[in-house]
Amino acid sequence: MMLEVENLNVHYGAIHALKGVTFHLQEGEIVALIGANGAGKSTTLNTISRLNKPTAGDIRYRGASIVETPPQDIVTKGIVQVPEGRRIFPKMSVVENLEMGAYIFSDRQRIEADIEMVFGKFPRLRERRKQLGGTLSGGEQQMLAIARGLMARPQLLLLDEPSMGLAPIIVEQIFDIIREINQQGTSILLVEQNAQMALSIADRGYVFETGKIVLEGDAGDLLEDPMVKEAYLGGG
């Protein structure tokens, strides 16, 4: 078992954002988390990355608890998050941003090679390699954010709304890339508003509502679920 989240509770001051969330992810899987705004999906990812501290519950990665592990060590263990809202470093160039992604490594050659690898996946970034991150367009930033995540050679990639604000054609590319990464051996925990795409690419899915998981199951089954169809697939 790659990741097990058990009875996770998170508070922001008085707000009880996660109320006992439990799910798991097998090695090599893509698992989609879907749900309305503010349901707690990003909070879940942030808690796995240890940007938030849970008030109760446990997170186990390959069997070992990581709730006490500081965020930088989570990354070294191979769990990498591509955060919501892009969050690229605005005053660093595209290349520097990518180098930051590989912060935990110091092998220059390998880093260079990895940069070439992600440029291969996102040719647009190669065009903009010297431009400062902050001046990229929204979509370019999103590509950069994913590319930067890949630079850390994740074993488990946490993707938070990777398709947000992207042109349809790019969304398709991104999902292709996600699939490709997964096929190359990276497990993926995917948070998406675009439930249609997310569930079609995922193996399994969980549906969040106000801090709880209200539905879970095989991705295909969820796609057929009437409630999911109604709320997340755009009325059909």
Binding site: S49, L51, P71, Q72, F89, P90, M100, G101, Y103, A152
Partner: protein, 368 residues
């Protein structure tokens, strides 16, 4: 009021403002040049005086620059003005002082059999250790300052750490006074670095002394600045610092230990201030618990002048400020008492035309 607003447009169209600004700048420049030519025509000062003034400006500018870098580093990463930075320098000055005092007290037998103090027998080692001590203790105080007074305030509104810093500054100043007494102290330099001696340059019929301590300070601050620049631009630590500066949360997601990087920033900025402090002692001699206050303010000014958060900017700002202070009154033929007026006026002018400092990036086209 409404009527008034309509009648007197407080806000001119952007282009008009720009043009007015440029005209004003040119006028000012012309004024300064005319005045300078006037003064030069009166030829009050010979070349020797100009050389003296420039050298003294460069030396003081070098120290400002070192301290300013500390401000800029911390500002860059936490967006806070570390008001207690001058006090960190003060601590460094004391650190170096005690090393010199100790070595001065230790008597050794020199090669020629005479008794002399360790300080004079091994000046290189003594000076090196004085810098080491001053920089270490200043770095440590920077570290603890951050840990005690600033870290608990991460995420608080922007001005709150500033107040904490002001409190820390008051505390450290008074602690310095109470620990070491209110009296001024003086660095006892090794004889080879005596404050009076130096290279003699004959110029315009008079001798200009370029003191060893001054040149030493200037060279050392240049070396430290270059070293720091390389550190920040080229090393992983430097890159991590920049990342933390831009977005702490995301930096953590890259595997950066944010707290550690911030601590290290304070350590580096403290060490530089410590070096400036020891230099201050060696070159100027006199100091007490208050020594950090004025240079602190000046260095802060320099950092902003250069574009706060920008390391080359801090260096440039420091040097610029030092030279303006020293040459400004002479060039304009104004009382030296008003040198700070000149310095601040130039600061204001620069910022009016470049609202984010000499090397700061332009704000005008913010992306929304």
């Amino acid at each position: 009021m409404e009527a008034l607003r309509k009648k007197i447009p407080l806000t001119l169209p952007q282009n008009t403002v720009k043009i007015i600004r440029i005209i004003a700048a040119l006028l000012l420049l012309a004024l300064v040049i005319v005045r300078a030519i006037d003064v030069a025509a009166e030829s009050q000062f010979g070349a020797d005086t100009w050389l003296r003034l420039s050298v003294s400006g460069l030396i003081i500018g070098g120290m400002y620059a070192l301290i300013a870098i500390g401000y800029t580093l911390v500002y860059g990463i936490l967006f806070m003005i570390n008001f207690a930075h001058g006090e960190v320098m003060m601590i460094g000055t004391f650190g170096g002082y005690f090393v010199f005092e100790a070595f001065n007290a230790i008597q050794v037998t020199a090669a020629d059999g005479s008794q002399m103090s360790f300080l004079n027998a091994n000046p290189v080692i003594a000076v090196f250790l004085a810098f080491l001590a001053g920089m270490t203790i200043a770095a440590l105080s920077g570290y603890f300052l951050e840990k005690i007074a600033y870290r608990p305030l991460r995420g608080a509104p922007r001005l709150v750490p500033l107040i904490s810093a002001i409190g820390a500054s008051i505390f450290l100043q008074n602690a310095g006074q109470l620990l070491f007494g209110p009296q001024r102290r003086q660095y006892i330099n090794p004889v080879v670095l005596d404050r009076g001696i130096g290279w003699h340059v004959e110029l315009a019929g008079s001798t200009v002394v370029l003191t060893y301590t001054g040149i030493f300070s200037l060279v050392l601050s240049a070396i430290l600045m270059v070293g720091l620049y390389v550190l920040v631009q080229r090393t992983k630590l430097g890159r991590a610092m920049r990342a933390v500066a831009q977005d702490k949360k995301t930096a953590a997601l890259m595997g950066i230990n944010v707290d550690q990087i911030i601590s290290r920033t304070f350590v580096i900025s403290g060490a530089l201030a410590g070096a400036a402090g020891v230099m201050w002692g060696i070159h100027n001699g006199l100091f007490n618990y208050f020594v950090g206050f004025l240079p602190g303010i000046k260095a802060f000014t320099a950092a902003v002048l250069g574009g706060i958060g920008n390391i080359p900017g801090a260096m440039l700002g420091g040097m610029f400020l030092g030279i303006v202070e020293s040459l400004g009154p002479a060039v304009l033929g104004i009382d030296f008492q008003l040198k700070d007026v000149i310095a601040f006026s130039i600061l204001i002018l620069v910022l009016i035309f470049r609202p984010s400092g000499i090397l700061g990036e332009a704000l005008s086209e913010e992306k929304v």
